[in-house]
């Protein structure tokens, strides 16, 4: 019911007394109101709905999901034909990507 898209906070500023941020969505930048995520820092990701940031993306939890996927795919790839190898690499890259970003 509520379209909300993840983006990265690249700048925090004040406008008309409100905490606002510039949010980068893979190159397209738009402003969002950050009043509900007072703790957010530049470089962190958030989900934005109708111009408002809803929550700070929890990178630790995201990495945990990637690890769970890794396990799932690893179990599958033990059947041993190598068809999941690329997949595993992609997931490992994702994990590293999150960790590097900190």
């Amino acid at each position: 019911m509520c379209l909300a898209v993840p983006g990265k906070v690249i700048e925090i500023f004040e406008e008309a007394g409100l905490k606002m941020g510039r949010i980068d969505y893979a190159g397209t930048v738009n402003n969002a109101c950050l009043e509900y995520v007072p703790e957010i820092q530049v470089g962190q990701y958030t989900v934005v709905h109708a111009g408002f940031a809803l929550s700070v993306i929890n990178e630790e939890e995201a990495v945990k999901s990637y690890e769970a996927w890794e396990e799932l795919i690893e179990t599958a790839s033990q059947s041993g034909d190598g068809r999941y190898d690329d997949q595993l690499q992609t997931i490992r890259d994702l994990k590293e990507n999150v960790e590097d970003d900190d």
Partner: protein, 350 residues
């Protein structure tokens, strides 16, 4: 092609008025001065310069392609282009989708009184530039000025005439099952450039309209083979609309491989934020063609050598199943209908 007309060394000629007045369209001396000072220098050619009521031309003995289109884009200046180059490119493209070489263009302007002379000059400069790039000549035209509020700033109607080379027969109805569907490059650039530059959306993007004349690319394709079964530029309604028109006109099914459709990350991001399906968004410098499988490699190769076809890709195939419909394959391997959009694309929150 991106031309920053503001850097061209051609200043606004000294005019009596800073803005366009009703009298500039009334046929009197102000009209004459506007035509002479602003329009003629831009479209300078023997046929137009005679200022007859019509252009009279010799044409080679050939089949003619003839097309007309009106341009009412808002905003009139957008990243990557403006209403002027759009009007030239759009008509050149409509003509050349038949395989024709576009030659002559007419241009009719409806201008709201009070429109800045400087803006009009800028639009004419970009029309001049676009015309040169497309190799078309503006040979006749008309200018009307209407009361404030009777039109929104400026509307342009262009009509184009082109000659179809011998042996070329391209129509949306000519697709055969087995034909490969080729797209010349990334989708949704124009529509998203325009939408994200509307003032109330406050976006900052690098997205540029793809407005460009495709006749050079088409020429390269036709040199490779005249066996192009269908060709169209996916403008309003986007790629989804064009593919659905192909499917229904040719009475074939089209199997779309969505993963092969090129899209720039910026455009994708903007589409995600606004909840818009890029398949439904307008393009102004892309073409879709249906080509028999034994010719597809050669055509793709030729396209990729042209600046406007570098990212050309096979995005689907005509099939005998689901006639008249376009089907995509979902990531779970089941098929889904790819429909035409119902109306204008609107930003949504849910």
């Amino acid at each position: 092609m991106i031309v920053d007309t503001s850097t061209l060394s051609c200043p606004l000629p000294i005019m009596d008025h800073d803005t366009v007045q009703l009298a500039h369209g009334s046929g009197g001396s102000l009209s004459a001065s506007l035509i002479e000072k602003l329009f003629l220098p831009r479209f300078d050619n023997a046929m137009l310069n005679q200022l007859e009521d019509q252009a009279v031309m010799e044409l080679p003995a050939c089949r003619l392609a003839f097309s007309t289109d009106s341009f009412v884009v808002d905003p009139i200046f957008f990243p990557g282009g403006d209403i002027g180059d759009l009007a030239i490119n759009g008509t050149a493209n409509d003509v050349c989708m038949s395989g024709a070489v576009p030659l002559y263009v007419s241009a009719a302007f409806i201008i709201e009184e009070g429109f800045a002379m400087e803006s009009l000059h800028r639009i004419l400069l970009s029309m001049e530039q676009a015309g040169k790039q497309a190799g078309v000549t503006v040979v006749t035209g008309d200018t009307k000025v209407v009361n404030k509020g009777s039109c929104d700033k400026i509307f342009i109607t262009t009509t184009g005439l082109g000659s179809v080379p011998d042996g070329v027969m391209i129509s949306a109805g000519g697709i055969q099952p087995g034909d490969k569907i080729i797209l010349s490059g990334t989708i949704a650039d124009h529509g998203m450039a325009v939408m994200t530059s509307r003032e109330n959306l406050s976006f900052q993007t690098r997205i540029q309209s793809d407005t460009a004349a495709l006749n050079g690319l088409v020429e390269k394709m036709i040199k490779t083979t005249t066996e192009i079964h269908a060709m169209r530029d996916p403008t309003r309604g986007g790629l989804a609309t064009t593919l659905n028109e192909f499917a229904s006109t040719s009475n074939v099914g089209i199997k779309l491989i969505e993963g092969n459709i090129p899209i720039s990350p910026d455009v994708k991001g903007a589409c995600e934020i606004l909840g818009i399906d890029p398949l439904n968004v307008a393009n102004e410098g892309k073409l879709v063609a249906a080509v028999p499988p034994d010719k597809v490699d050669a055509v793709l190769d030729a396209m990729r050598k042209h600046p406007l076809g570098r990212q050309a890709a096979i995005i689907g195939e005509a099939v005998t199943d689901h006639k008249g419909m376009v089907a995509g394959e979902t990531l779970l391997g089941v098929s889904r209908i790819v429909d035409m959009p119902v109306g204008e694309q609107l930003p949504r929150i849910c």
